[in-house]
């Protein structure tokens, strides 16, 4: 199948590849997927605790071209956003931007899960009640 120029560009020149110190208080790490499914995505954010803005985002992904491009794009979008704005990123926006074919939509879902996972990890470190933990205490 033919891929979009944007997808190929993110695949060949991936943005923000790398690793942040997962033990740092200001870093949140999301690790999603599984090796047996052929996709593992690790996305990390560094948050300024005062402004709540994401100052740095890094990723590493094991997977197909669409998975790599989706995570590369996600890191670009994350930088400069507040945590709340980042939580609003929807996988369908990634699908649209990269023109992912239907069989590759799961790659964008994985990227959204990785973003949410990274934010959750950051919030847990800071004692912020996540939506999940609030739900857990009210039940």
């Amino acid at each position: 199948m033919a891929y979009s120029e944007k997808l190929l560009d993110h695949f060949k020149n991936p943005r923000n590849v790398g690793t942040l110190d997962k033990n740092s208080d200001n870093v949140g790490t999301g690790l999603v997927g599984a090796p047996e499914c052929g996709d593992v995505m690790r996305l990390q954010i560094e948050v300024d605790p005062i402004t709540q803005k994401i100052t740095q985002a890094k990723f590493k992904t094991f997977g197909c071209g669409s998975a790599i491009a989706s995570s590369s794009l996600a890191t670009e979008w994350l930088k400069g956003k507040t945590v709340d704005e980042a939580l609003a990123i929807d996988n369908m926006a990634i699908v649209e931007e990269l023109a992912l074919p239907p069989v590759k939509i799961h790659c964008s879902v994985l990227a959204e899960d990785a973003i949410k996972g990274a934010i959750k990890d950051y919030q847990t470190k800071h004692g912020v009640q996540t939506a999940e933990s609030i739900a857990a205490t009210t039940h």
């Binding site: 690790l31 999603v32 047996e36 052929g38 094991f62 998975a67 799961h106």
Partner: protein, 406 residues
Amino acid sequence: MGQRLIYLDNNATTPTDPRVVDAMIPYFYDNPGNAASRNHPFGWKAEGAVDVARKQIADLINVDEREIIFTSGATESDNLAIKGVFEMYQRKGNHIITVKTEHKAVLDACAKVQKMGGQVTYLDVDRQGRIRLEELEAAITDKTVLVSVMWANNETGVIQDMKAIGDICAKHGVLFMSDATQAVGKIPVDPKAMGVHLMAFTSHKMYGPKGVGALFVNRKNPRVKVTSQMDGGGHERGMRSGTLNVPGIVGFGKAAEIAKAEMAEDAARLSKLRDKLQHELTSILEESYVNGDQAHRMPHVTNISFKHVEGEGLMMTFNQNIAVSSGSACTSASLEPSYVLVALGLGDDLAHSSLRFSLGRFTTEEDIDETIAKVAEGVNHMRELSPIWEMYKEGIDIDAIEWSEH
């Protein structure tokens, strides 16, 4: 792109040899007849051309030309052999034995047989991709009518011990069928000497045109019959109706003649190139593994796994100009890696990470050198990006991580 294209996917299909195309052309314009037209020169010429081709193909595999049934390809031949034997020999039994690493054409034909009330045993293979002979023998019952084992595997190139399997089948009086699609025209294939009674193969894997294949059906000791799966004018001794694809068959015949003459030379040259490719890649790249039995393998094939690199993504690093095949099928619901590699016992770290390189008559040393460089670059790029490669290098036990099933 302006880049030179390199084709190392000859197990998918081979380019048609120009000499084959030249032989076919007259049968489109000058001799357009139907080989079944018995009453005019157009028909006679077509029939004569088919007779020549049938002889060329029979000679390649050392059988009688009356034992060649033309079909549309190996998939049809597999279907005709399996379903045709099942229907023809129903009074004798309803049990078929095959192998987990067979081509889908065999596996799905067997699944259909099961729906029709048949019993099918699927044999495992060992780590090298070969069946265990004692398991085959133990699986044979008094209801067994057919054993179907492919000659050479399409993904790994692994060749089964055909003679030993043939001996077991003969000992128990069971028919032996083989999908020899990947072997015929590339290595010497002599079904009678191996005790094979039915054999499927095709033109387009041996530098002939697509859309034409054959089924060898043994005529004597035993005389084998199959129930036709395509009904009509009773062509091909009643086993396969339908107007013969005369230009295709002529091309198939020419391809067989060339293969017989040049096979040994091609195989010697290609195995050297294949060995170079395999040796260089596994030397340059740590944690790379060759899949399947290297002592019993097609001369032009190698299947290599690069640990913690996903095959489809890896291919994307160079597939603008190099064509290979990946054992990973990362599409929609099917996130499963190649069932052939899984049957060999490969773990998740390697099964998703394989590339199949299949060389061919038109492969050059320059192609191989460029492929080595581009694949090595691609693997390194993908490992830079791979979180599990990073964990592996840090000594983290990846199996101990609790992964979120996606």
